[in-house]
């Protein structure tokens, strides 16, 4: 590795700070990277300028099993005897990104990243990403539907439940498509259109949206915040509610 693209990584590859894998990638517009150590340390950086030294930021460390999985992918990549340098192509595309990947003590330069990344390298990155996956947060969705509250249990990540996608977007996306709200009855005062209870390690986070547009969040620690939804966003929530016969679904979605 050379100059700004590699100094920080190379300095930390030996001794007690034994490096398993590191990469730095980008072009003159943006650079990013990550590195994983045998003791579980996990650091990343992202910067706009090629001339800036990376400011490595520590993230929650990996456990032993995760390190084993990542190390296994790294060793598989080492066994593949990849070349030290992979060309960006002939001719290389404009503004191609370049990556410098360190597998234990082996350094590989890859032009036209990530398009030209060998499958073995991609598997290392996938292994890191897989080990970062957050355990699903269980949630309960209480929805005003056709004159009654329907409660649905979700034991997986909401992103995996297709029937909730429209409502998830209406609740959490900052911009929604404009549109009319469908006609329908509102719940009694004090009953929200939607109440979602996320059961986290520290307690329950509760989000409620009321027919008058109030959006109330109560954090696990008890703090409450309230804001008012715009007309388009409230209409999107109503459309999402009206688009599904929630009472016809099984009470546990996953």
């Amino acid at each position: 590795m050379t100059d700004a693209m590699g100094v920080a990584t190379r300095a930390l590859t030996g001794g007690a700070d034994r490096l398993i894998v590191a990469y730095e990638a980008g072009n003159h517009l943006h650079r990013y990277g990550a590195r994983v150590y045998a003791d579980g340390r996990y650091e990343q950086f992202s910067t706009r300028r090629a001339s800036e030294q990376p400011e490595w930021e520590r993230y929650e460390p990996f456990g032993e099993q995760a390190i084993e999985a990542i190390a296994g992918a790294v060793d598989a990549a080492l066994a593949a005897r990849l070349p030290d340098h992979i060309s960006a192509g002939d001719p290389p595309p404009p503004d191609a990104a370049t990556a410098h990947v360190t597998l234990r003590d082996r350094e590989i330069e890859i032009g036209n990243w990530p398009e030209n990344a060998p499958a073995e390298i991609q598997r290392v990155l996938d292994a890191i990403a897989e080990q970062r996956e957050r355990p699903p947060t269980r949630s309960t969705w209480e929805l005003w539907s056709r004159g009654a509250v329907v409660a649905l249990e979700v034991g997986c990540d909401v992103g995996n439940v297709a029937v909730l996608h429209a409502l998830d977007d209406a609740l959490f996306m900052s911009a929604v498509a404009p549109g009319e709200a469908p006609a329908g009855d509102d719940p009694p005062q004090g009953t929200p259109l939607v109440r979602v209870t996320f059961s986290g390690r520290g307690g329950d986070d509760v989000l409620s949206v009321f027919a008058d547009g109030r959006r109330v969040e109560r954090a696990a620690g008890g703090e409450t915040s309230e804001r008012r939804l715009g007309a388009d966003q409230l209409a999107a929530v109503r459309r999402a509610l009206a688009g599904t016969d929630w009472g016809a679904l099984p009470s546990r979605l996953c």
Binding site: M5, N27, L29, A34, D169, M173
Partner: protein, 569 residues
């Protein structure tokens, strides 16, 4: 406190007035006779040099001293102010160009003949010329070659070249609903995963496009690309047909982007893949140029943030208390600026600029902290400017005497007290402007290559085999640029890779060379040449003389633009 300018020119380097509004005053460097001149007088000084212009348009005998030393901007200001006798208020570029075309008497042979005019009339009467799926960048060579891909139309009646590019957008989530991050965004996913679930969901939603095609962000992206790129790339330069009797035929350039969802544009020239990110997240961009002869297989990877930009052109050096010495880490830092912006040199001739080099000017502004007397601080700030210029001169910056100027402002901008950041020299390279990432990438989509180079402050340490040009490499559009001519018929020098304020380098300036693929398209679809840079002449006018070559590759007549418009040369 009056701001002063300090200029440098050693013995044998007489002061040179660049034909540019940013003209600099110069005096011997490192000597006791540094000339300090107030920065006020460009227009007045230039006006004094301008003699009355009395010739009628058809037989212009214009102001030789004017075109020897004054750029369009300065001259335009002078005209607007009524400072140029003989030039009517509101005179356009065409009139001015004709006036500047050469101090000589015309012979009858130089005037168009009735037969030539009739031939041009007949050609123009045939109406609009069209070309579809053009790849004007294909003849380029070298690193990063991009063929471009667009349609083009030229209408002789309106004198307009319209570059039409259909863009199909594939909206791409930065982090998918399933929680998979695109390259470069894993850290953002990890950060979001550490948040409580409601905040996490809200944060991750910012990395996703709505699936609804009428979603406001999707609509804003498409219209934003059209508005931004059409304004940025259109109307910066114009052409005229440099043939006797035909030179009244001009071609302004208008960009017509037609941006829609990919599925609605099956014949798109460019596929855009904007990766959705919040405004506080940066992501790189590039263009996959596709096959050289295929006008419809380009792909642009970019972020959803159309305002993403980077500034490479502003730097600073700081000093010790009451010191003007450039030492230690500051010397290292300044050396990086020098090595990045010194300009391309001729092979085997260090210090001699490549004829294609932009030779971007550099402006230094010296500052002092608020401690001490104002008089002393003024002198100190000027000494700091001198010191930086001297360091640049001794450490490889090419043509310091003609490119570098400066001013000391004393402590007039100091915050108070003894602050390190007040003891500095600001270094502004060229326009000093930020480069909009999307505007740069569209240059590739139009068929231009990169003009930046591997230097300490740009893509440091990367070689050609990774796709990074080296200082002095030919830009891929070099050959196309050499096929362009100025108003006088002189070919442009070409395009070379070096960090400058050019849009295809690391800045924001659209120079004539960046119209090379538009020029090639105009030539192709009209089957006429040469289309020269500059405004058209009057119908019965002779061809303009060749006066512009002395100003270098970047300085040619440009269309009049309103105040506040982006800089174009």
């Amino acid at each position: 406190m009056i701001a002063r300018s300090v200029l440098w020119a050693g013995p044998g380097h007489p002061a040179i007035a660049r034909p540019d509004a940013r003209s600099l005053w110069r005096a011997p460097v490192g000597s006791d006779s540094i000339r300090r001149v107030t920065t006020e007088p460009p227009a007045a000084r230039e006006t004094e040099a301008a003699p009355p212009v009395e010739q009628p348009e058809a037989a212009a005998t214009p102001a030789a001293p004017l075109h020897a030393g004054i750029g369009n901007a300065a001259f335009g200001q002078m005209v607007a102010a009524g400072l140029v006798p003989g030039v009517p208020f509101g005179a356009g570029n065409a009139t001015l160009a004709r006036m500047l075309s050469g101090p000589r008497m015309l012979s009858r042979e130089e005037l168009p003949t009735p037969a030539e005019l009739a031939e041009a009339d007949a050609w123009a009467a045939d109406g609009i010329r069209r070309g579809t799926d053009l790849t004007p960048g294909a003849p380029g060579a070298g690193l990063n070659n991009a063929p471009g891909g667009f349609d083009a139309e030229y209408d002789p009646a309106t004198g307009e070249l319209v570059v039409i590019m259909r863009c199909g957008v594939e909206f791409t989530d930065g982090i998918s609903r399933a929680g998979v991050a695109r390259p470069g965004l894993q850290n953002q996913l990890d950060r979001a995963n550490a948040m409580p679930e409601p905040q996490r969901r809200a944060r991750l939603a910012q990395f996703r496009w709505s699936e609804d095609k009428s979603d406001a962000e999707r609509v804003a992206f498409k219209s934003g690309v059209e508005t931004q790129i059409e304004a940025f790339w259109g109307g910066r330069h114009e052409f005229f047909l440099r043939k006797r009797g035909w030179s009244w035929l001009g071609a302004t350039v208008r960009i017509d982007l037609q941006v829609a969802d990919k599925e609605d544009v099956p014949d798109a020239h460019l596929t855009m893949r904007p990766v959705k990110v919040p405004a506080d997240v940066s992501l790189g961009a590039n263009v996959q140029p596709g096959q050289l002869e295929n006008a419809q297989d380009q792909v642009m990877n970019l972020s959803s943030n159309l305002n993403a930009s980077d500034n490479f052109l502003n730097h600073r050096v700081t000093f010790g208390v009451n010191s003007s010495a450039v030492v230690g880490a500051q010397a290292t830092s300044l050396q990086q600026v020098i090595d990045t912006f010194k300009g391309a040199v001729q092979a085997g001739r260090p210090g001699v600029a490549d004829t294609r080099s932009i030779q971007t000017p550099v402006v230094l502004t010296g500052h002092a902290s608020a401690t001490g007397s104002p008089e002393h601080n003024q002198i100190l700030s000027e000494q700091r400017v001198d010191s930086v210029a001297d360091f640049m001169s001794r450490n490889g910056f090419v043509n310091v005497e003609t490119r570098v100027g400066g001013t000391g402002v004393g402590d007039t901008e100091a915050a108070g007290g003894e602050r390190a950041e007040d003891r500095r020299v600001d270094i502004v390279v060229g326009s000093g402007g930020s480069q909009n990432t999307v505007a740069h990438e569209f240059g590739h989509a139009f068929g231009l290559g990169d003009e930046y180079a591997n230097t300490p402050l740009v893509s440091s340490g990367l070689g050609r085999d990774t796709g990074t040009p080296q200082m002095g490499d030919d830009a891929t559009h070099d050959t196309l640029v050499k096929q362009m001519v100025d108003a006088g018929g002189t070919p442009l020098a070409g395009a070379v890779c070096e960090p400058t304020d050019s849009i295809m380098s690391v800045g924001d300036v659209v120079r004539p060379q960046h119209y090379a693929t538009f020029h090639a398209s105009l030539t192709e679809i009209t089957a006429q040449s040469p289309w020269a840079l500059g405004p058209p002449t009057g119908r019965n006018d002779p061809l303009p003389g060749g006066a512009a070559t002395e100003t270098g590759p970047g300085d040619f007549p440009v269309p009049a633009r309103g105040e506040g418009d982006p800089v174009a040369v």
